[in-house]
Amino acid sequence: MDVTGMPILADAGLMDFVAGLFSFKLVSCLALSAAIFSIGAMGVLARRNVLVMLISVEVMLNAVMLAFVSFARAMVNLGPPAGKTFAAEGGQIFALFIIAVAAAEAAVGLAIVIAYFRNRQTVDTRDIKAMRN
């Protein structure tokens, strides 16, 4: 079977779909992570509040993590490809690292936002344009 599971989706009859709701389908996980990622991205684009933007970024990172773990899950069915080190575990390990990274960014981000707020009493992007053109 193909890791991407595209064929499964391709000849998905109704029963398969119902079954699919309960069995792991890579494609659906990817779809979900894509959705979350886009939501996060939209958040960054649309929201004016820097804090919310940071949160949206975290959301995006979560989507990435989801992608990783689901890929890892798909890999389990394959086992590691020839000559490659960790295949399946890799994804999960990577997800952990992403958590760490996200945490670090969040911490620094909050610190910076607070520092800025101290000076300007605002975190609205519309006010954060002292430098432009």
Binding site: T4, A41, V44, L61, G90, I98, V101, V108, I112, A130
Partner: protein, 501 residues
């Protein structure tokens, strides 16, 4: 794996240790002894540089040959030289060394041009220098990393440190703003980068940067290529290429000048290391190559155009240099253009060109920012064009160096910028990308105009303008003159700069 391999990474270790040392010293030193901190930081960088050179030389005399220029071309070993260490998490090769050398130089010099800030500012605190060193270590790791995981980690080490540095001028609103913008956008783009990694992992099942070989009929191609696209987004952001360049001017302008210098040189160098690894190793397969050459060419031209054209209308030198930095990223990208028949030898030449360009560009940009960081009598730093009125009268030597930097950035002989540009364009033209080269050259004609505006201000002030002289620390002198001499020498004897083989 054995510990001996870690010696290859010793330079990074040295930098990290000296970071800790600096922070520690900060605790025990009394305020008036603080002047030691930057010295220590610089010492760290220079020591690391020394160790790097030592590694290089020992490798040379151990294996009777220089370490391979690019590990990607000599997968595991060349002349018995083990490039891959820690199970392929890192590779030690000439390219990486060159980039990390540039990073170290950037670190040292940016420390130099941050020292003369008044005592109470955050910049004189130990953690500032610590963070600088941390960022540098991140850049070096990035230059060596050969694995998505290490890539991500080192990228984050570098980025997070620079986020903080950008905002380290706490009571300055613009510094904070630049930090914010950098942070949000950086994180945003990093998310793309990670997603790209995820896709590639998903399709190849590995994190290694070694070449991806997929049969063109393989449906996973889409996944890989998509992942590649997302990776490119993340990297081009760091590079500051259009249309991901928006952060550059604001951040450069807002950040403390020393930090700006670090970002302009170090971060860019590290990012181009990534570009090199990805394009010339991971996605080297012709199937990918024909995808990305067009892309890179387009981005390069767009970047050069945007950078140079907007720079025409700047009144702040710092911002002007930011835009010129964008433009130079465009030139650098030209260096990665290779045709479908190109073999590793050709790529090696291109990488040489890129490395030399980074070196030359680093030296002159650091020098320029060194001049910018000088503060006038009234405390403002020489950020705006009109601050340069008649500088040549007050400080001829300084003005001369600034002129050299400007002309060198514009790519006029006999300065380093010219030869750097020469090599980049020669590799592009050699590979038959005439049109991008011509367009790039045309934009650089425009660039000459704004570089000359600075010279104009210094040497030919308008009659009514009041010329303000500036006071400056010996450190900046050292930096500026050193950089000036450097960019002349690199111009006349470029092969000294390309001694990496």
């Amino acid at each position: 794996m054995n510990v001996s391999q870690l010696t290859e990474l010793l330079p990074v270790g040295v930098v990290l240790i000296s970071a800790l040392v600096v922070v520690f010293l900060d605790l025990i030193l009394s305020p008036k002894e603080r002047y030691i901190l930057p010295m220590a930081a610089m010492a760290g960088c220079l020591l690391a540089l020394g160790v790097l050179g030592q590694n290089y030389l020992s490798a040379v005399q151990l294996y009777k040959s220089a370490p391979p220029w690019f590990a990607g071309f000599a997968p595991q070993s060349a002349g018995g030289y083990k490039t891959a260490i820690l199970g392929g998490a890192f590779v030690i090769d000439g390219f990486g060394m060159a980039i990390s050398a540039v990073a170290l130089i950037a670190g040292a010099l940016s420390v130099l041009c941050s020292t003369h800030n008044d005592e109470d500012s955050a910049l004189s605190k130990g953690e500032f220098y610590g963070l600088v060193l941390l960022a540098v270590s991140g850049m070096m790791l990035l230059a060596f990393s050969h694995d998505f995981l290490t890539l991500l980690i080192s990228l984050e080490i570098m980025s997070v440190a620079t986020y903080i540095l950008a905002g380290s001028e706490r009571d300055d609103v613009r510094s904070g703003e630049s930090a914010l913008k950098y942070l949000v956008l950086g994180a945003f783009s990093t998310a793309f980068l990670m997603l790209g990694m995820a896709f590639i992992y998903g399709s190849t099942g590995s994190f290694s940067l070694s070449p991806v070989i997929l049969h063109s009929s393989d449906p996973r191609n889409y996944l890989v290529i998509g992942g590649f696209g997302l990776l490119v987004v993340g990297i081009l952001f760091k590079v500051g290429a259009a249309p991901f360049h928006f952060w550059v001017p604001d951040v450069y302008q807002g950040a403390p000048t020393g930090v700006t210098a670090l970002m302009a040189v170090g971060v860019k160098a590290a990012a181009f290391a990534m570009v090199g690894r990805l394009l010339f190793e991971t996605f080297r397969a012709p199937g990918f190559r024909e995808h990305w050459t067009g892309l890179v060419a387009a981005v390069a031209v767009l970047t050069m155009a945007v950078g140079n054209l907007i720079a025409l209308r700047q009144s702040s030198v710092k911002r002007l240099l930011a835009y010129s930095g964008i433009a130079h990223s465009g030139y650098l990208l030209l260096g990665f253009l290779i045709n479908r028949r190109a073999d590793p030898a050709v790529m090696e030449e291109s990488l040489h060109a890129v490395a030399f360009y980074l070196l030359a560009y680093g030296v002159m940009t650091l020098g320029a920012f060194g001049v910018v960081s000088l503060t006038r009598e009234d405390g403002r730093s020489l950020e705006n064009l009109e601050d340069y009125n008649g500088l040549a009268k007050e400080h001829p030597a300084l003005a001369l160096c600034m002129a050299v930097f400007m002309l060198s950035l514009a790519g006029l002989p006999p300065f380093s910028g010219f030869f750097a540009k020469f090599m980049i364009f020669s590799s592009a033209i050699d590979q038959g990308f005439i049109l991008p080269a011509v367009l790039g050259i045309l934009t650089s004609v425009a660039s000459l105009y704004y570089y000359l505006r600075v010279v104009l201000r210094m040497y030919m002030p308008e009659a009514d303008s009041a010329s303000a002289s500036c006071k400056y620390a010996w450190t900046s002198n050292l930096l500026v003159y050193g950089a000036g001499i450097g960019s002349v020498l690199l111009g006349i004897f470029p092969h000294w700069g390309i001694g990496m083989h």
